[in-house]
């Protein structure tokens, strides 16, 4: 599309309308023009009518003088103006004047048929339109284009259209109150004017809404509901409209789309195969822009071709109507008249749903800043319009179908529920702005994804063949409902004989209403019934759909209450069931909000193991603690729950349970700990409570799951140096390396390599790893591993190579470099960050560099500068530095990258400090080659560096000063730096506490001081005193540079004096 919908301020009249007008893109520069579209035409028409009628309807308001005139270029000739105007050759002024004797209309000639016109009141405005006659349309359009926000002009800037709430009326009202007399009267009529305008705005909005709603883009939900609707009318019988309709793929992505990702980029939602009653099978693509026929599966290759054939339609029904005459015929005959009331009911419901959800989400995502919220709300609003329109289009049809089927309550419920789900999904999706996504990523350390919340609800079709279990379970549930305690228990026991791990049974229990009864039983207080019920719930809650259903029925609240029961059996079962249910976020939140975390933590409180003989009683206590830990493990996947566990005093209790010798106990305890270790406070506690020792001890167990959790806990905790030292102290490095042999269990491998990576951040640990020959083992793991493992392996290698030079040659000798360079072509961002780091570390050795160069590694690194992720950019730029330093003929190599230098210079526009620092460092290296320096100078490196000079970040300062020093070597760059104001800020760097900054700065100043103007600037900035201090430094390089700079300044002064003396 050449033009886009633009939501911009237009025409005072406010919020809504503003967004309705369609503007051509203004990003190309210049003023926006109103797009030539039916919507805009309608808008302008109504505006003209309104303005023309204004003076007769509201005589008082028409006379109000605008704050500033509406000004635009007109094609009206002076001669066309009639009486009431003073007309000369190239100008027109109105006879009507304001208080200050200023004419209310002026027209000036700019050129041939080109006049500039200013209008001060509505009266004149309507006159102009009358005069314009046939040209009205054109005139009105140019008025609106030239004055995108007329209210601001009429009433002052205070009334400009603001996105968000509009207080202008209130403001004006207040002003009216404050001032009295003549001025007050004037303001009063102004107020009236404003109100009139707003009223008109509403009118326009309503009118244009219809247009807008038709043009909104399709969403996966719409497609899904439409397909679902059509599916009901598929088949060979007389009532059907289609033979068959189906999605080409069953897999649904998180965003609701079914099209493969590379097609989603183009806006594709899904592909459909539709077989109409007449004609051939159609292969249809649903795109956000509409639906169209695609080329379908081509020939023998079985490949789907996505190319569009023919027109785009706004929905499937529209498409099918044109493609299949029979479809059109049947559909037409099916149309019933709309039932107003039903429609309204439907919308209200969905409205409530959205609002309710919004507030709930708002509560949940407090971090989200207001701005995004507002935007998302607006989009919601917009989308809502879309839904309205869309349902409008197909609703009559739905009604018909409702009439046809007997309206069973159950059926209705089902529909409502799916609707509810749908709207929630939409909201979810809308909320997921990129920033938010990141947020979620970090806030939920959960190793499990949340996707299960979106798993499709597979309900048993009424008519399909039901397994015999279904009927038996239905009977048992009947006894549960209508039996006394004894019958209930027999029924519960019988129910347990079914294979509750099987999905048919699980869903059967739900579908016959068994869940409600089971949860109800939990509130009876009959311990035996509660135990029986929980035993079943515990089993079936392993199913994701059952989990959701239990949470929906309020089962979590009841179970949390049971946690304080006096029966230990009950407590255990309730905790275990909570552990199963709390696998998704909403459930975890419910547990927390009902005080479940505190109660679960208190379950952990059993006497220290070994402190008393193992009696039955005590064994039960331990079992309770185990179940508590299990539930906390599930709950600890939410950040707030982690906090709540800590607040409830869970950490010391977990630390105590960590001493347990039983794996059953250790797994949930370590699991919770590793989950929580994403929080700094936990990491500190794990260290200070002495848990590292136990974690290390448990690395040696036989149980792989336990080993995995321990390694993963160490992985997260070893961010801190003290922890790394402790791991070494307790001998944890050896078992970690041993775990590397375990290449079958990828999860374990990922955790172990992660722990090694983090531990390798301490050089003492690297030494130990060397002794254990860990580097060789890690290099061996570089091939054929899943990404989670690779990220950690490469990270570990990078750390080892960076800290201990001899490791670099080990990596080379074990043939690790080709694998590393190969990984540079990957797409995983975390992996790329680590790989670039590792390659950079290896490149510091000449021999390694030779291999990297041969494999074209530098080019790969360079291409990563184009990556979207600033972290990848930065670490690629860092890696480039040693490459240039150590490559043979580096200058030639760099030049060979087409567009490479331009790319790296352009990165100086980044706003990420790390990227800037790394790019400066790279530029400092590039500038060593004179020819390259000339090229980057041409690309404008000097002013860009100068612009950064005002930074206060020491790391950036150091590399920036380096880069400046190097870049001074070419042409008149020195002078250019001075002209761009880089010198004075540089002097301030000398006050930084960082000595590396001093050295680089002194060097830069020395280079710059060869230009006399710079010397003067430096001197004025008080550089001499600072430099004199530096001359006394221990650092020789710094001494030399400082002294050199002082010499240059001094020389200038001497020359100056000499010149003065020679004059006199």
């Amino acid at each position: 599309m050449a033009t886009r919908m633009r939501f911009r301020k237009w025409y005072t009249m406010g919020q809504t309308l503003t967004r309705a007008a369609q503007w051509t893109s203004v990003s190309e520069g210049g003023r926006g023009r109103l797009e030539f579209s039916p919507v805009n035409e309608a808008l302008i028409n109504s505006t003209i009518k309104y303005v023309e009628g204004f003076s007769s309807k509201h005589p008082a308001e028409t006379a109000i003088v605008f704050k500033s005139p509406l000004q635009w270029k007109t094609t009206l000739e002076p001669s066309t103006f009639g009486s009431g105007y003073e007309i000369s050759d190239d100008s027109v002024t109105s006879k009507a004047k304001d208080k200050n004797d200023q004419p209310l209309l002026t027209l000036r000639k700019l050129g041939e048929l080109n006049y500039d016109i200013k209008v001060y009141c509505f009266n004149q405005l309507s006159n102009v339109l009358k005069i314009a006659g046939d040209m009205k349309m054109r005139e009105a359009r140019s008025i609106l284009e030239a004055n995108p926000d007329p209210t601001a002009k009429m009433l002052g800037d205070g009334f400009a259209t603001i996105e968000g709430e509009d207080n202008s009326t209130l403001r004006l009202l207040e002003q009216t109150k404050k001032e009295s007399g003549d001025e007050g009267d004037e303001l009063e009529s102004k107020l009236r004017l404003l109100l009139l305008i707003q009223q008109f705005d509403m009118q326009l909005m309503n009118q244009s809404l219809k247009h807008i709603s038709q043009e909104v883009r399709l969403t996966p939900q719409q497609i899904n509901s439409e397909v679902a609707l059509l599916k009901r009318y598929c088949g060979a019988d007389s009532g059907s409209v289609l033979e068959k309709i189906s999605f080409t793929t069953d897999y649904v992505f998180d965003n609701g789309c079914r099209a493969p990702p590379w097609r989603q980029v183009h806006g594709d939602i899904c592909c459909l195969n539709i077989l109409p009653l007449d004609g051939e099978e159609l292969s249809v693509t649903a795109n956000t822009a509409g639906v169209y026929i695609n080329k379908g599966i081509e020939g023998e290759s079985n490949d789907q071709s996505y190319e569009r054939v023919g027109d785009i339609y706004k929905d499937l029904v529209a498409l099918l109507k044109t493609k299949s005459p029979k479809f059109a015929e049947i559909i037409e005959s099916k149309e019933f008249e709309l039932k107003e009331d039903q429609k309204e009911e439907h919308f209200e419901a969905s409205d409530d749903e959205i609002d309710g959800d919004m507030t709930e989400r708002g509560f949940e995502e407090k971090k989200e800043d207001k701005k995004t919220e507002k935007i998302s709300k607006q989009t919601t609003k917009r989308k809502k319009c879309a839904t309205v329109a869309r349902t409008n289009a197909t609703l009559n049809w739905k009604n018909e179908e409702m009439n046809r089927q007997s309206r069973e309550k159950k059926d209705k419920d089902k529909k409502e529920r799916s609707e509810k789900r749908l709207s929630r999904q939409t909201i979810d999706r809308k909320q997921k702005t990129p920033a938010l996504l990141e947020d979620e990523f970090y806030s939920d350390s959960s190793s499990e994804s949340e996707e299960e919340e979106d798993t499709p609800d597979r309900r048993q079709e009424q008519n399909s063949d039901l397994p015999s279990e279904y009927w038996q379970i239905q009977k048992l549930v009947k006894y549960l409902k209508g039996g006394n305690q004894t019958a209930t228990i027999i029924a519960l026991c019988a129910m347990r004989d079914f294979n509750l791990g099987q999905e048919t049974c699980q869903l059967a229990i739900r579908d016959v209403g068994g869940l409600e009864v089971l949860i109800n039983l939990l509130e009876t207080g009959e311990i035996k019934c509660m135990i029986g019920s929980l035993k079943i719930l515990k089993e079936i809650s392993k199913n994701t759909q059952i989990r959701k259903a239990i949470a929906d029925l309020g089962g979590l609240q009841t179970m949390v209450d049971i946690l304080k029961s006096s029966s230990k059996d009950l407590k255990c079962l309730a905790a275990e069931t909570i552990a199963n249910v709390a696998k998704f976020r909403r459930a975890r939140r419910t547990v927390r909000q009902h005080g479940g975390i505190k109660k679960l933590v208190s379950l952990l409180d059993c006497a220290p193991l070994g402190s008393m003989p193992m009696t039955d009683e005590f064994e039960k206590d331990v079992e309770v603690a185990r179940c508590g830990a299990l539930a906390l493990w599930s709950c600890s996947k939410s950040t707030r729950n982690k906090l709540a566990i800590r607040k409830a005093g869970g950490i010391p209790l977990l630390a105590r349970l960590l001493k347990s010798p039983h794996e059953d106990m250790l797994i949930p305890v370590v699991g919770s700990l590793q989950e929580c270790a994403s929080e700094a406070s936990y990491r500190l506690a794990i260290r200070t409570e002495g848990m590292i020792e136990d974690l290390v001890k448990n690395l040696n167990t036989e149980n792989q799951e336990l080993q995995m959790h321990c390694a993963s806990a160490i992985f997260k905790c070893a961010e801190e140096k003290e922890t790394r030292d402790l791991v070494r102290f307790y001998g944890g490095l050896d078992p970690l390396v041993v775990l590397l042999n375990n290449s079958d269990n990828k999860e374990l491998l990922a955790a172990a390599t992660g722990a090694i990576w983090k531990c390798a951040m301490s050089s003492e640990n690297v030494e130990r790893f060397q002794e254990l020959k860990a580097i060789e083992m890690l290099v061996a793991l570089l091939n054929d591993q899943p990404e989670e493992v690779l990220v950690n392996v490469v990270g570990a290698l990078g750390e080892c190579a960076a800290q201990e030079p001899s490791n670099r040659s080990v990596i080379r000798k074990t043939n690790g470099i080709p694998s590393l360079v190969n990984l540079l072509t990957g797409t995983n961002q975390a992996l790329l960050v680590n790989v670039t780091k590792a390659v950079g570390a290896c490149a510091t050795e000449q021999d390694n560099m030779g291999i990297i160069d041969r494999l074209d590694g530098v080019r790969l690194l360079w291409s990563l500068l184009k990556n979207q992720n600033p972290e990848v950019q930065a670490s690629a730029a860092w890696a480039i530095c040693p490459c240039i330093e150590n490559a043979k003929d580096a200058g030639e190599m760099v030049r060979s990258f087409v567009g490479g230098l331009e790319l790296i210079v352009s990165l100086l526009k980044s706003d990420n400090k790390e990227v800037l620092a790394s790019v400066c460092a790279a530029i400092a290296n590039i500038a060593k080659d004179e020819e390259n320096l000339a090229v980057i100078t041409d690309h404008g490196v000097v002013p860009m560096l100068a612009k950064l000079a005002s930074t206060t970040d020491d790391r950036l300062r150091q590399h920036l000063a380096d880069a400046i020093a190097r870049c001074c070597m070419w042409g008149n760059n020195r002078v250019a730096f001075g002209e761009n104001g880089a010198v004075a800020p540089l002097v301030r760097y000398l006050k930084s506490p960082d000595s590396t900054v001093h050295r680089a700065t002194a060097d830069a100043l020395f280079q710059l001081s060869r230009d006399p103007d710079n010397c003067i600037t430096m001197h004025e900035s008080g550089v001499v005193k600072l430099l004199v201090g530096m001359v006394g430094s221990d650092d020789q390089e710094l001494q030399v540079a400082a002294a050199g700079c002082i010499r240059n300044i001094r020389r200038l002064a001497l020359a100056n004096e000499k010149a003065r003396y020679s004059k006199t």
Binding site: N484, T486, I490, A491, C493, A494, I531, G532, S566
Partner: protein, 220 residues
Amino acid sequence: MISVRHRQQVQQQDAELLLRMKQTHFSEDECKALVNKFKFMTKDNKVARQDKLDRSQFHEVLQSTFKMTDDMIMDRLMRAFDKDSDSCVNLSEWIIGLSVFLRGSEEEQVKFCFEVYDLNGDGFISKEEMFHLLKNSLVKQPNEEDPDEGVRELVDISIKKMDIDRDGRISLQDFQAAVKEESLLLEAFGQCLPAPELAIAFVEKAFSVPDHRGRYNQLY
């Protein structure tokens, strides 16, 4: 002379009782309190029935303190307590019965429950007995054709679940095995054991019974 013989008899009884008490799950103090309570409950009885709880008194205890309502089960409990089948519960039967009833080990309680459910005392719980025990356990649906169909279904379910040797009736061995497998089945055919908190409350309440200054106190 009579009084001497009576005294000797009583002393012998006391000695026996003391021996029995040692075998219960109660501590001495608890025994004392329970004996005291028994005396308190029977203090107004006629001479002939002195020191014995009759059916109505026994029912009264079960109803008021253990919230039991099913007359049939209560009669069966009475029979289980009443070892000498004289339709009354004497002191020693009271203490021993309560020991199992309130604190019995799993094995004891399984036996106890089985006795309760085995209506005719032939060592088996037959289908008819089950039907009898369960016949009131379902709410009768007015529109159902055969109101007993549900009960028969329940009996079938129970047989299927508990009749391990498949002889169409439940023996003690069957019952023990089934309960071992699923402890909830202990009271499969009606509540015949007290809820744990009521059991605890009962013993505690026995302590608060006004001290009956009888010779039993001198036992200790």
